[in-house]
Symmetry: C2
Subunit: 339 residues, 2 copies
Amino acid sequence: MKVLITGGGGFVGSRLARTLLARGQLNGQPITSLVLTDQVTAAPELGADPRVQDRTGPLLEQCAALREEPFDGVFHLASAVSGECELDFDLGMRSNLDSTRALLDSLRLAGVAAKKPTRLVFSSSVAVYGPDSSVAMPPLVADDTLPAPQTSYGVQKLVCEHLIADYTRKGFIDGRAARLMTVTVRPGKPNGAASSFFSGIIREPLAGVEAICPVNDQVSHPMSSPAKTVAGLIAIYEASREAFGGRLAMNLPALNVRVCDMLDALEEVAGSAVRARVRFERDDRIAGIVANWPTGATATRAAKLGLKADESFADIIRQYIADCAKSPNADRALKGMAH
Amino acid sequence: MKVLITGGGGFVGSRLARTLLARGQLNGQPITSLVLTDQVTAAPELGADPRVQDRTGPLLEQCAALREEPFDGVFHLASAVSGECELDFDLGMRSNLDSTRALLDSLRLAGVAAKKPTRLVFSSSVAVYGPDSSVAMPPLVADDTLPAPQTSYGVQKLVCEHLIADYTRKGFIDGRAARLMTVTVRPGKPNGAASSFFSGIIREPLAGVEAICPVNDQVSHPMSSPAKTVAGLIAIYEASREAFGGRLAMNLPALNVRVCDMLDALEEVAGSAVRARVRFERDDRIAGIVANWPTGATATRAAKLGLKADESFADIIRQYIADCAKSPNADRALKGMAH
């Protein structure tokens, strides 16, 4: 089978690609071709796999060609992140809304020509939730909580969820939207996402670098490790429509933790000297955005698919350390650890 | 002040235009110019008013020019109806989504140039609600009920609600989305809306013509008279942002009635011979669509603005008869009445 990952050069996209290549199959079908699209080049080890085609460039510009190229399955992860979309409204609309619309229209045409709707998993986000002055946000957001996005990114994700639901209802695609929790611990450098510090306060201290936490330590948030997130995307792809249940988006499982719990876990795994590298310095802009985010999430529908949250934040940190240990950057990434 | 009504040639748009011209002001400002855009020409008496400019043609094509033409207020009512959007998906996306997006972008540019966000009222619809296999629909849908649209029309309305909320959050416009209930009794001929029969079973018998009801008489639905609907749009325009409450869409008040209640009211107002002109003949396509619609609605936020539903369906019928009596078609429209 032929699979497309948009955003295949990104962190979650790369990990999904590695996982799919290692499995060799999806839903019981051997993966013979894996196309990665992204603004950035795919990771070298992915590009070296004979099954992989790496296509660099804006998704919007690549969509027209996709009309003539049928795929069996698509993971649509490409997205401008929340911080970028707040700073540049038009970028967000183009990258997140127009590109998705163009992708859906291409898949529709290709699917009609192939007489089979293409299966698509879309990475929506917990950012669709928020408080509005007309409606409170519950402490734990559920699959059926009323979305009230507080950012352009959240609005664009929610709009795409509903377009995907309608293209699915019409039989143009077989779409499933999964709301990703905040994926932690992300490697590399801080990105434009307002949630970037949730990774930073773990990643930087492990690398021996001071990290600044822009919110207080009682802030709670729904998190997921990269491995659990990728496992969720694959399980949602492989679910039958009946098991997926309806056309509305589904929450992926979350571990709901406070910043202080995260730092306790960091100390447990890496010691008090590492934890001591986190300094609290409030950033009103970030704290204001985060104040509108859910403090936790439930995932009833995902649980019915057998999906579970990470067991503890210490597990999430251990997963990050194990991943780093396998990478060429291991020395630098884990420089702050005593052993 | 200068006001734009998109869909100003339609039934609700024309009535809103007449009401605004008769009031002469909106939010205390004299209306000096009223621009009506629509695919069809404005009603002759509207076109004859010196304050009115009638612009016929697709809204999408008119939007570019609107960038250079600031308006103080906009009522965005233009829309392809539900039945049309089900039959022609691309028409619905173009008329309801692309046109709204183009309008918002034009208003944004004009508003930035004028250093004042344009106030906009958008006519969304009770069609945003529905059941999904993952979530039940309550018997009465409320402002904060989770939307799960079951038609492309409903999806497009919901998507526009959220885009308007985000353009408002960004300060590009001052937008307010109002979910209209099914407006009854519509004059004229049946249109492509699946809800068309709700007017037909009153209108045709009054004109001495047999009407077919495609659903059983226990079907319940949230209704509103044209006068209450127009009053709701104006009140939402005139509300302060604080009184509107939040950025999410607001239900307009509904009279929740069953088909049998409607026919009892018809008999009360016009006699049993008129009622006898309604024949029940199930249409599976229509009945299937209607089965996914709410059986009633509440409007808590609208009530806080002082808005009320019609008192009875007999009142709604009397309003229709009084409107017909003033029209040049009175003889034909009320031919079926005994007096």
